[in-house]
């Protein structure tokens, strides 16, 4: 007559899942914090070229310019020539200055003089388009630019 009965059988006790919601919540909060909801939908193909001699972009003082061929669903309307996109609409080279000034005014006032223009250009675009953009930037005196690139090296792929 032992007071301590041996547990019957060698069955494994069920795993305690009480802390599972906690773990999941922790992950959830992590992803909620790091998520940046895309506020401008890309209407162009945007496959960046590769480079390895890169510097980090300071997000708070940058204006983005996208360029490349319109993506499939817009090709019927806009053709297949390289296009410039700022914010969520296509911009013509002649109205680029206006669009850029507008984009710059959205930045914090103390950073507006130190604006960096980030160029996200598809790798199949012609350099001529980029030259036109740079020419407009010089007119506006926004001379700090950064060519956004994907990590890697073009030498590896060839």
């Amino acid at each position: 007559m032992s007071k301590f009965k041996k547990k019957k059988g060698g069955e494994l006790p069920p795993v305690n899942t009480a802390s599972l919601p906690d773990i999941v919540f922790m992950l959830l909060f992590f992803f909620m914090v790091v998520t940046v909801l895309r506020n401008n939908e890309l209407m162009i193909k945007n496959e960046l070229p590769k480079a390895n001699e890169v510097e980090k972009l300071k997000k708070d003082r940058s204006v983005f310019i996208y360029a490349g061929k319109p993506s499939k669903q817009y090709q019927a309307k806009f053709g297949t020539e390289g296009k410039i996109q700022i914010g969520d609409k296509f911009t013509d080279i002649s109205s680029l200055q206006f669009a850029l000034t507008e984009a710059r005014e959205k930045l914090r006032p103390e950073l507006q003089d130190r604006v960096v223009v980030a160029l996200k250009v598809d790798k199949e675009t012609n350099t001529g388009l980029v030259t036109d953009i740079k020419e407009e930037l010089r007119e506006l005196n926004m001379v700090k630019i950064i060519y956004i690139a994907a990590p890697g090296s073009e030498l590896d792929t060839k």
């Binding site: 899942t17 999941v24 480079a51 001699e53 510097e55 997000k59 350099t127 073009e154």
Partner: protein, 209 residues
């Protein structure tokens, strides 16, 4: 008096809800990792002012045609050889010792027909309007790589093997540099003066000119 116990809320489905949200955020997350080649454009210039005279031997001409082929100093070249060629040109130090332009830290061939001094050496890139952007960035990357190689070499020589120009610069940009940031920036400036980035970009030629 029997106190009625408040029924406990069933929290069993909490995990499900949390999972659902988790999966939503997992899918929508794009961890931004924007990095790129920084560049300062030259300011708008008066067309009437002639450009300062440069000696032919101090210019390193890189030409890219519409088929993405490289012509470096009038010779066809592969992209992989561009960086070494640029390093050889910048580091040449062709001015004879004793002259005011003599480069005391250069380790190149000291060929009098190539660049006199890194301060004088200019790399000029000329693109066709139809050159692909991929090639354009690849060329820029190789040339910046050449400058970084030389700057890293000088920073190691002057400030010890742990002071690598590009590493220190990135660390300062990310706010992770341990030690005196101002002193380090001063050192970086000193190295930039040894090998100033002189990359010029010619206006692309229009077709038929």
């Amino acid at each position: 008096m029997a106190r009625r116990a408040t029924p406990e809320v069933n929290a069993g489905s909490m995990a499900d809800i949390a999972f659902l949200l988790l999966i939503f955020f997992l899918v929508t997350t794009t961890i931004e990792k924007d990095k790129g080649i920084a560049r300062q454009l030259p300011p708008k210039q008066d067309e009437n002012i002639p450009p300062p005279p440069l000696k032919e031997k101090n210019i390193f001409i890189v030409n890219v045609n519409q088929n993405d082929q490289l012509l470096v100093e009038e010779e066809l070249m592969e992209l992989k050889d561009l960086q070494d060629a640029a390093i050889a040109f910048l580091d040449n130090g062709g001015a004879p010792s004793g002259s005011p332009e003599y480069c005391s830290y250069c380790q190149g061939r000291r060929d009098p027909s190539s660049s006199d001094n890194p301060n004088k050496a200019v790399i000029s890139v000329q693109n066709d309007r139809l050159t692909s952007y991929q090639m354009y960035i690849a060329v820029q990357n190789e040339l910046v790589g050449a400058y970084n190689f030389l700057r890293n070499r000088e920073s190691r020589r002057l400030f010890g093997p742990d002071f690598v120009y590009t590493d220190v610069k990135n660390a300062i940009n990310e706010g992770k540099y341990q030690g005196n940031v101002e002193a380090a920036e001063e050192k970086l400036k000193q190295i930039q003066e040894l090998f100033p980035l002189k990359l010029s970009e010619a206006e692309p030629k229009k077709r038929g000119e």
